[in-house]
Symmetry: C2
Subunit: 408 residues, 2 copies
C-alpha cells in the first residue's frame, strides 16, 4: 500500500511559501505504518491537477491532497476534482452549519464563504471543525483520494482526528520500525567511518540514515515489519555500545524539549542571557508547552549598555576583554542567574555575521557560558559564515553544554 | 522553457525534515524569469530516481536536483545518474583539491570524503567552494539536469554563483512581473469580496493570488512578459487606491525587516518585554543582519518574579489585575523602556496554550502594549487555540502595532 502527498498552489511553485505540511503528513503516515512513495507540488491549474492525479494513481493507492480550497478565485481544486471524477457541486446543509459555527467568533458569513458549503455530489464529506473548507474523500477504482485544506493547523487537526484513523481502518498497514539517535561530536563522514563495520553487517532489510542538523547528528535505524522487533533491539544494543556517551538521546526529540524534560525532572529553574543568539534559545525553550514550569526568563542583551545596566557586566571587563570574550560570557551568565534567581543559566556572546568580524575574532566566533549552581563552564566555538546557521548552531551548542553539565 | 525541482532523500519522505530548499530555488528561478512547473520529492532509490527523470523530462526542459550526494552509503544519486546517462565515475584532481581546501579548517581527509572526488565522466563538473560534494551538469537530448548537494547553504551558494547565471545565459527567459502587497486588517474572504470588481477587470494574463500568514495577508499581482510593465503599473495604481492605508508595504518583505528599516531611518532604539511570545519577537528582529543598529535587547519575563524583579511591574497590580491584563502589559512595556533606555518598546502577555486558559481569559487571549516616547497603546487580541500559531500571530500583531504608532 503506497501513498503520495500532492500539494496544490502557485504560491509554492514561485517559492513564496515553504511547504511544511508535506513533512508533517509524511511523519504521521510513516508512524502509522504507511509508506510515502513521493511528494509533489503543482500549480492551481486544472489540466495539471487532472494529469497529475492520473499519473500518480498509476504508482500509488492513496493520494493525500492539500490546498486550493480557499474561498477566492485562485482556488480551483474542488471544481477540478468534480471534473476529474465526473460529478457536480451541490450545496450541503451540514457543511453550511459547520461553517457558521466556525466563523461565529470572529466574522460574519459573506457570499464567498457561503460558497464553501458546495461539495462534490459523489464523495464522502468530512466536516472541518476548525475551518471553513470541507474535506472530501473519493473512492475510485480501488484507490482513494482525499482533498484537505492547506492551512496547516486545519490540515493537522483533520489528519489526526479523521483521515489517519479512516486510512488505518481501511488498510491496516504493516509496522515501520524506526529508532532515532541524537549523536553529538561527529561530522557525517567521521560518524560513518566510525560505524562502518556495524553498517556493513546490518541484517537484510535494515537501513541506516544520517541526518545532520546544526551542531547535532540524527541517526535513523529502520526496517519494515512488526515481526522484526527482536532483531531491531539487537542492532540498537550494538549501536549504543559502539557510540556510548556520544548518544545524547535514543529518540527523535527536539533538544529544547529534552533539556526542558531534564530541568523539570530535576526541579531546576532556568534562564538565558543572549547576545548573538538574540532570543532564539528563549524562543526554542518556550515553543515547548509547559515550559513555564522551569523557564523563568531571559535577558537579550544586544547592546553593550544592556549587558552592563541589566546584567551588571562590569564596564572595565567589557572594555578590557572585549564583548566577545570568555570573561564577558561568564559575567553575563552569572549576572542573569542572579537577576532571575535561577538554578542554571546560559549566556552567549559572539559574531553571528555577516559583518562585524575581525582578524582576531572572525565571524562565527561564539563564547558560551553555562552556570549550574556553583559551577561555571565557558567554551569558545568556531562556527561558520552564515548568520542563520550560526544562530542555530550556537543555540544548539549552548543547550548541549548545559545538558552535559546538569547530567554530570 | 519549463523547469522542475526534484529533491532526493528518504528523510524527506518519512517527514524527518522539512524541504526548505525547493521554495528557495523556486523563488530564485521565478525572479530570474523561469517557470517552475512542478516540485517532487522522492526516495534514495535508484529505480525511482531513474523513472522520475524519464517522467519529468517528458514535461520539462530543465531538472534541478538536490540531495543524495553525501559521503555515506545512503547517498546514491551520483552512481544512479551514471547509470541513467550511461557513463562511469572517474577521479577528478580539481575536485580533490577543492575538497582538501574546503575541509582544511576543521577536519582531516578520510576515505569517505576522498570518494567524493569521483565524478561522472561525461558531464560538466562545477566546483563546490563551500562543501565537499561537487555539482554535476548533464546536457542530454536538448535538456539539462543539474545535480546539487542538499545542504541548504551549499545549494544556495552554488545556485547563485553558478547555476542561475549559466541557465540565464543558455535560455534568456522572459521576465515574470510580480508585485506584492502586505495588507492588514482583512481575512482572506473579506479582502476578496472587497476587491472583487478589481479582480474581475484585470487584463488578460494577469493573476492575483492571496497568501494569508498569521496576522497579515500577502497579495500578489503577476503577469508574464517584460513588455507589460506599463499595464502592471496601472493595475498597481488601481489596487493601492482601493486599499489605501490597509497596505503596509508594496513589496515582499518580512515584517521584522520592515520594522527594522523604519526604526533605523527614524534613528530610534527599540526593545521588547515578552511573556507569551517567549523571545520570538527578539529572535525575529535579530534574524535581520544589522539589527544591532536599533535593537538594544529584551526581557523575556516568563515567570511573575521576572516581571516584578526585572521589569518592576508592581506586585499589587499583578495581584489585582492578573498577569494577562491591560495594566500588566502597560507596566511591562514602560518597565522595559526605562530599563533598556530605548525610544520604543513592545510588551506581550497572554495565554499561548494549549493549557492555562479560563472561562474569562481563554487560550489565545493576548494583551499587547506598545510605547513610543510619551505615548502608550494597549490592545487586547483574541487569537486561536494553537500555541505555535498564537506565538506567531501575537508577534506579528505586536510588530504591526508598533509600526503603526511610529508611522503616525
Amino acid at each position: 500500500m503506497k501513498t503520495a502527498i500532492v500539494t496544490i498552489g502557485d504560491e509554492i511553485l514561485i517559492g513564496q511559501i515553504v511547504d511544511t505540511n508535506s513533512a508533517w503528513m509524511a511523519e504521521k503516515l510513516t508512524q502509522a505504518g504507511f509508506e510515502v512513495e513521493e511528494m509533489l507540488s503543482i500549480g492551481d491549474d486544472a489540466q495539471q491537477i487532472k494529469a497529475t492525479i492520473d499519473d500518480v494513481f498509476s504508482r500509488v493507492d492513496v493520494i493525500l491532497m492539500t490546498g486550493g480550497l480557499g474561498p477566492t478565485k485562485d482556488d480551483i481544486t474542488k471544481k477540478t476534482l468534480c471534473e476529474y471524477f465526473g460529478t457536480t457541486l451541490v450545496s450541503d446543509n451540514a457543511v453550511l452549519e459547520n461553517i457558521k459555527n466556525v466563523i461565529s467568533n470572529f466574522t460574519t458569513l459573506n457570499e464567498l464563504t457561503r460558497n464553501q458549503a458546495y461539495v462534490p455530489k459523489d464523495c464522502t464529506v468530512i466536516q472541518n471543525k476548525v475551518g471553513t473548507a470541507p474535506i472530501t474523500w473519493f473512492d475510485h477504482i480501488g484507490k482513494v483520494l482525499v482533498s484537505m485544506p492547506g492551512v496547516p493547523y486545519e490540515m493537522r487537526y483533520v489528519m489526526e482526528t479523521e483521515i489517519l484513523p479512516r486510512l488505518q481502518k481501511k488498510y491496516d498497514p504493516d509496522t515501520y520500525l524506526k529508532r532515532v539517535f541524537l549523536v553529538r561530536g561527529y561530522t557525517e563522514s567521521a560518524l560513518a567511518s566510525y560505524i562502518a563495520d556495524f553498517e556493513d553487517n546490518l541484517p537484510e532489510g535494515f537501513g541506516l540514515a544520517y541526518l545532520p542538523s546544526p551542531g547535532l547528528m540524527k541517526l535513523r535505524l529502520f526496517v519494515r515489519g512488526g515481526h522484526r522487533l527482536q532483531e531491531m533491539e539487537e542492532q540498537v544494543a550494538l549501536l549504543t555500545d559502539l557510540l556510548g556517551d556520544a548518544i545524547i538521546a535514543e529518540r527523535d526529540i527536539a533538544l529544547e524539549k529534552m533539556l526542558g524534560e531534564r530541568l523539570f525532572e530535576k526541579n531546576l529553574t532556568f534562564g538565558t542571557a543572549e547576545s548573538c543568539t538574540g532570543g532564539n534559545i528563549a524562543h526554542l525553550i518556550t515553543s515547548v508547552a509547559g515550559s513555564s514550569n522551569y523557564f523563568k526568563g531571559s535577558v537579550v542583551s544586544y547592546a553593550n549598555e544592556t549587558k552592563t545596566d541589566v546584567l551588571h557586566v562590569p564596564l572595565d571587563i567589557l572594555s578590557r576583554c572585549g564583548v566577545v570574550s570568555e570573561e564577558v560570557a561568564i559575567e553575563m551568565a552569572r549576572g542573569v542567574k542572579q537577576l532571575l534567581n535561577v538554578d542554571c543559566a546560559i549566556a552567549t556572546t559572539g559574531i553571528a555575521g555577516p559583518d562585524g568580524g575581525t582578524d582576531l575574532i572572525p565571524v562565527g566566533t561564539v563564547w558560551i557560558c553555562t552556570v549550574y549552581k556553583n559551577k561555571t563552564i565557558a567554551r569558545k566555538y568556531q562556527l561558520g559564515k552564515y548568520r542563520e546557521a550560526n544562530i542555530m548552531r550556537a543555540s544548539t551548542n549552548a543547550m548541549l553544554q548545559l545538558l552535559e553539565m546538569i547530567e554530570e
